[in-house]
């Protein structure tokens, strides 16, 4: 039998322990679903695809933020067969294992994490060379599905309430490298400052826990460099 401690309540609450039978190839999502369907229908949690594509099921399992549908009990349970399930950190808890994602996506918007086509419609197809350094940089970071695990793992998000966070900055980096985008300067301004890329201290917690193997640390480093190059070229150009 598995002993499963589950967070109940909001930001204040308590852990409730359930006993769940161990089954072959069981995932943590299977465990949570079994608790909610068989033992306590008042338990709140999120999931959707069940197959590691949507990121909805992200929560903290034995201290590590992960997708529960892709986390086998066999490799995550403690030696004594114990699981501790908590909602993602750095988010406001709505109820039990579900968190409020609004601030996460507000920061995405604040980082200008969206494509800007510009005022004039394009006259022809844009030519984007796949092997170009810019496209490769964008491709390396483009697969983010906004699950919030990096945001949960980041200490700077916990220490600095305004910090935009690894996901928003990572997305901004892909757009800075998109040659079709028309709002590069405004986006660089948006990701600069006390809440921007300069606040990152390269702990690399985001990169450690990203389930898609992305490296927001390097995206953010790219933003830092891009900002510096722009500052230098402005100072140089302004001095002439």
């Amino acid at each position: 039998m598995l002993s499963v401690e589950v967070w109940r309540g909001t930001d204040r609450g308590r852990f409730q322990t359930f006993a769940v039978p161990r089954r072959v190839n069981q995932t943590v999502l299977d465990v949570v679903s079994e608790i909610q369907r068989e033992q306590d229908p008042t338990l709140s949690y999120r999931f959707a695809c069940r197959v590691g594509m949507c990121g909805s099921c992200a929560m903290v399992v034995n201290g590590r933020p992960r997708w529960t549908c892709r986390t086998r009990v066999s490799e995550s349970a403690s030696a004594k067969g114990a699981l501790r399930l908590e909602p993602l950190r750095n988010f406001t808890v709505v109820k039990d294992l579900t968190v409020e994602m609004t601030q996460f996506f507000d920061k995405w918007r604040d980082a200008h994490g969206h494509f800007e086509p510009g005022g004039a419609p394009a006259q022809d197809f844009a030519v984007v060379e796949p092997a170009s350094p810019q496209r490769q940089a964008a491709d390396a970071a483009i697969e983010c599905i906004g699950c919030g695990i990096c945001y949960s793992a980041c200490e700077v998000v916990a220490w600095n309430k305004d910090y935009l966070g690894p996901a928003a900055l990572n997305r901004a980096w892909t757009l800075v490298n998109d040659v079709r985008d028309a709002a590069r300067d405004a986006r660089l301004d948006a990701v600069t400052g006390e809440a921007g890329c300069q606040a990152c201290h390269t702990h690399m917690s985001c990169t450690t826990f990203c389930p898609k193997g992305l490296a927001p640390t390097y995206s953010i480093a790219g933003l830092k460099r891009t900002f510096l190059l722009r500052a230098v070229s402005r100072a140089w150009g302004g001095g002439r």
Binding site: N62, G63, R64, P65, R84, R89, A153, C154, E155, H201, T202, H203, M204, S205, T207, T208, F209, A215, T217, Y218, A221, K224, R225
Partner: protein, 113 residues
């Protein structure tokens, strides 16, 4: 329960970098004041230096020198992550930093009279 991210080497590096920085920032004014005793002549500085010849002081100096080496090597790591295109292998890098800090501390202990 400690956050899992706090057990990762990247966080440990950042924490050591920060703590060594704080220690150095506190130490520096005293370091400057000690050297400033030379304004009153070489003998004044020598009087101060005589205070530092106890084993406890030598050990403290070794820790400070190690803290300086630690802050620099970990700082160079941050600069490398931010400005160089190479992907870091965190554990290997930190082992190299730790080795450098150890070497500096040891060299100090071996050299100090």
């Amino acid at each position: 329960m400690m956050r899992a991210s706090h057990k990762e080497p990247g966080f440990l590096a950042a924490l050591l970098h920060r703590l060594s920085g704080i220690a150095l920032a506190i130490f520096l004014p005293f370091h400057f004041l000690a050297l400033a005793t030379a304004l009153n002549g070489a003998d004044a500085l020598d009087t101060f230096l005589a205070l530092t010849r106890t084993p406890a002081m030598k050990a403290s100096e070794c820790v400070l020198v190690a803290a300086l080496a630690m802050h620099m090597t970990l700082g160079l790591r941050v600069l490398a992550i931010e400005f160089l295109p190479i992907r870091e292998r965190t554990f290997a890098t930190l082992s190299a930093c730790a080795a450098a800090v150890f070497a500096v501390g040891l060299a100090f202990l071996l050299n100090v009279g």
